[in-house]
Symmetry: C2
Subunit: 147 residues, 2 copies
């Protein structure tokens, strides 16, 4: 069944990790798991210095330079129990240019609060998106928070 806006917002806010899908000029789409925070109608996805990178500019960043549209998917998968499945998808658009200093500072603080790994860490880059659409689905009316 379709989830209402408030339920979608609650479920995506309480999710730890999401999948960021971006537009790839040749392959059509790319997808990668990401950490993120939500603040009002904004989503911030950091490029961190902790998880080891292969080097160079990340493909997700190159994709977004080429096309600002993206999607963030959060879901619950409980193995055998399909009654608790749900997913929420935020359609996104990368915001133009650099963020105001205060906005960036607030989003970085929210990331450090959500993920203790980021305490005392600086970020290589902060991708800030505007949510353009929020939709969700659940297998039952009793779908609960991420396990």
């Amino acid at each position: 069944m379709r989830l209402g806006g408030a339920r979608c917002e609650h479920l995506i806010r309480t999710s730890e990790r999401g999948v960021l899908a971006t537009v790839h000029p040749v392959r059509g789409v790319d997808a990668v798991p990401v950490c993120f925070v939500i603040d009002a109608d904004r989503v911030a996805v950091p490029v961190d210095r902790i998880k080891p990178k292969t080097g160079g500019t990340l493909q997700r960043v190159r994709n977004l330079e080429h096309d600002r549209r993206a999607a963030l998917l959060c879901d619950r998968w409980d193995g055998d129990d399909w009654s608790q499945l749900w997913w929420v998808r935020a359609s996104l658009e990368l915001t133009e240019g650099d963020q105001e200093h205060q906005v960036r500072t607030e989003l970085e603080a929210a990331l450090r609060q959500k993920y203790h790994h980021y305490v005392d860490q600086s970020f290589t880059k902060l991708l800030v998106f505007r949510i353009t659409r929020l939709t969700g689905w659940s297998a039952s009316a009793s779908a609960t928070e991420p396990a």
Copy 2:
């Protein structure tokens, strides 16, 4: 670190659920969690009759009619322990036309073996893709199977 082809294949084969990203004509990308099986260089994603649908043709199917390219992402997220993170992504292209009867029968049998929910079930549709590229990343050399 980048994962080799054999490791990618093992991890994606032993994953229960993936995220299917497709090209959307307006939003750029869509993403949705899916059940799937892999057989050689093919991926089959069923449209089943179990999980309740909102009605009409699913957006993922309409997207694929418009653009055959897609991606399937599988990953491991262990909450606080970031040392065990990994992801594998298969870039896909929907195969042309209907599958030969035998191929379809084999893929449906593999789905029923992987997901006991599908025993005695027929599928509304079977999306069959060819894998065009397989890439993966892990936080450490010891990345293990999905939890």
